[in-house]
Amino acid sequence: MKYNILNTHTHNIDGIAKVTGRAQYTFDITRPGMLYGKILRSPHPHAKIKNIDYSKALALSGVKAVVTGKDTLGVKQGIWRRYSELCDEQILPLEKVRYIGEPVAAVAAITEEIAEAALDLIEVDYEVLPAVYDAMEGIKKDAPMIHEGVERNINVTRHIEWGDVEEAFENSDYIREDWFKCSGQAHMCMETRCAVAEYTPEGKLTVWTSTQAPYYMQALLAGVLGMKESDIRVISHYTGGGFGGKFELDGAQFCSSVLSMKLFKPVKIVYTREEDLIATKCRTPMYYYVRTGVKKNGKFMAREARVFTEGGAYTSMGATALYLTGFFHSFPYKWEGYRYDGYRVYTNTIPATSMRGFGAPQATFCSETQIDLIAKELGIDRFEIRRMNGHTPNYEVPGQATIASCGLEQCINKIEDWVKSRGKLPANRGIGISSYGFMSGGIFNWFDTPYSFSSAVITVNCDGKVDLHVGAQDIGQGSNTTLAMICAEELGVRVEDIRVHSGDTAECPPDLGAWGSRQTLMAGNATKMAAAEVKRQLLEFAAAKMGVNIVYDLDIKDRWVHSLARPERGLDYFEVVKAALRGKEGQRLMGRGFYTPHRKGMISPAYSYGVQALEIDVDPETGKISLINCVTAHDCGQPINPLGLQGQLEGAISMAAGYGFLEDLPMEDGKILNPNLVDYKLIRAPEMPETEVMEVETYEPEGPFGAKEAGEGLTNPTAAALSTALYDALGVTVKQLPITPEKVLNALREKEKEGK
């Protein structure tokens, strides 16, 4: 199919605002009479709050208010609203703190400096309690209880099973078991968490905030503040990064709202980088036990995984990560029998949640590392073992998922060709490969919303220009551009004819927002449906005017309304719009679209696939790894925006490779030891490898124009490919992320010992 707009080089529609510095982020918002808020945080990992005395703070000149849990409704909130037991976090807790950095009080003052100074004047009387910091310790019988009544600190369990696992193991010729440990990771958005809340005497609250999901913020704030959702307006026109860390309610949003409601003044809270690192949420650390059975010829038979995730102090999106890691640990392969048992364990550490990949990077690292070890022991080619067992189009994962499009095999072939083209590598070089796949948005309605998962409203004005209102959120991934392209393609106009309205709950229809790689497929379908509705109305008028037999004989392409049979016969789009408006007594043309997945299995309506090769250089003296090349063959269905796609790929590599060998959140007694950008290492420009993406085009029947997920899944393979590259280079594996020089050297010493 030839498209006018899709898969063409298109500038991001927010691009000029961003390169000229005009884009206004929450960080940049000031309001008349605005006050500045600061949050007092717990120095203890686990302690009872016996008393808070803030009289001295309140007496400080310039301080306007101090609030504690007692000034709130004390609602235990959480994003898994469908299950009350998983709503376990009081922001500003009433009784006890459960991690270092947890908010205990908040101050509003006329300057940030005064608010900061006031924090030192608040006296909190704590009764320090025994604490536990590790999932494997937390699950023990005698571990301190972090949440009342939660035995062994087991917060959530997940079981996934299909086939006869025991029989499949019995029929295996070779069984291997391994333990892995996957670390946490900070989202490290360049814009730290921040909010400006403004409560007015009308009883309405407006909150500007840096978020991935304005509708979630609106609904969650309504819950904790005891307000109607529609009396709260959340505005987030530009979000300085999200990566899974900005769709749950945070302390900045909640405390600024509580302070503003007390004072009837706008209150702004911006987290420092340190606060953003210690007192938000992070990628879920996981212990992985994996037992895998295969046939001599490499056919995968059975897999059993037991996973303990370090949940931190609260449930958050960690409940979803626990499920998804279990499912994606099977991916993208076929198993006769598969069993996963996941345990999410509360610990007195920063709460663990979703982060780009959502449990799948951990699952993929463990799976792919082990597959290479198996292939080596059985003497089977590493491409062959993946090809032999990989998902194929129309495969059904028993009881879990129905796969429609799947380009995995083509991806394997392309990467195999590339690896072979590299020929013999110099010493200490290696190329690792990893297959991966990911969902295109989730199916399960744990947020318990009556709204459609995505919706869009399109209005066509008398001059033919189009207003597209979406609740989908552009956090830099380019969804506004993607949706404008989908709208322009369907309606037959140009991208510059469309103005996208997003990031404002008062203007835009509800949508679950930017997470789980859902927007291209779900908001894309809603947009396409709304555009089709408008187009149908236009073609009614055009058909009457042109005297063709049936409406469907007409189409619009590049502002030309024409007969399909004779494209040169047609009318100018703008003229047809004007005529149509007149015919409707001057009403603007409107179309509505929505999407909620139905009957698509347990996980997602569609899945992306791919294979990545990562070439590295290892210095055996120091253990230092350098990234050389990263080549990815990628099936995201029909690519929509190639420039955006490349950006997603490269960005994912930098974040996921960072997870593989640089980034970590080391702790001592629950205290994060590297809470700043000097000690927390991110990949910088000189460390990035050369990157190449090879698109494998498939057509996904469930997606708009055949499109599916293209941003998050790309984070899944890189840590795994780094691990398999190390194995390829030096014949050693490191089963604990991140793969630091020290661990590489230890592995080399181990190998030497075994050799002797």
Partner: protein
């Protein structure tokens, strides 16, 4: 409170302000003059989101006091564009998709512009090293390197002021 007179030129305009001498340059730029295109992403001079040019050199504006810019020419991202005409580096960023969330972009643009001033034809290695002080969590840098390289190669010559 102690107040000092600061005379500084920002984006071609001369300003005179009385400020607390402890005020950082980034605070004058953002809070006093309202050029909010310049961002802040850390407290440790690590991220480069606040990068501006002072007399053509890239400087992290959170790392110096405003008084140190006395009598100097400061350029922020708002100073790149000229009456609606984008600077070549801005055009190159658009063409190469060298930004996503956009929060590091102003700093990246200023660091890139200063880099090209000092070294008009950098190798990609020199570009990468030149941008070492600027963090980006979204793009993975390669699109930024391609944009700077394109300008260095003269692909935006006709856009040069």
């Amino acid at each position: 409170m102690e107040r000092h007179l600061l005379r500084v030129t920002v984006n071609g305009q001369e300003y005179e302000l009385y400020i607390n001498p402890k005020t950082l340059l980034v605070e004058v730029i953002r809070d006093h003059l309202g050029f909010t295109g310049t961002k802040r992403g850390c407290e440790t001079v690590s991220c480069g989101a606040c990068t501006v040019m002072i007399d053509g050199m890239a400087v992290k504006s959170c790392s110096i006091l405003a008084m140190q810019a006395e009598g100097k020419n400061v350029t922020t991202v708002e100073g790149l564009e000229d009456h609606g005409k984008l600077h070549p580096i801005q055009k190159a960023f658009l063409d190469h998709g060298s930004y996503q969330c956009g929060f590091c972009t102003s700093g990246m643009l200023m660091a890139s512009t200063a880099l090209l001033k000092e070294n008009p034809n950098p190798t990609t290695k020199e570009i990468r090293e030149g941008l070492d002080g600027n963090l980006c969590r979204c793009t993975g840098y390669n699109s930024i390197v391609r944009a700077v390289d394109a300008v260095g190669q003269g692909k935006y010559k006709e856009d040069q002021a």
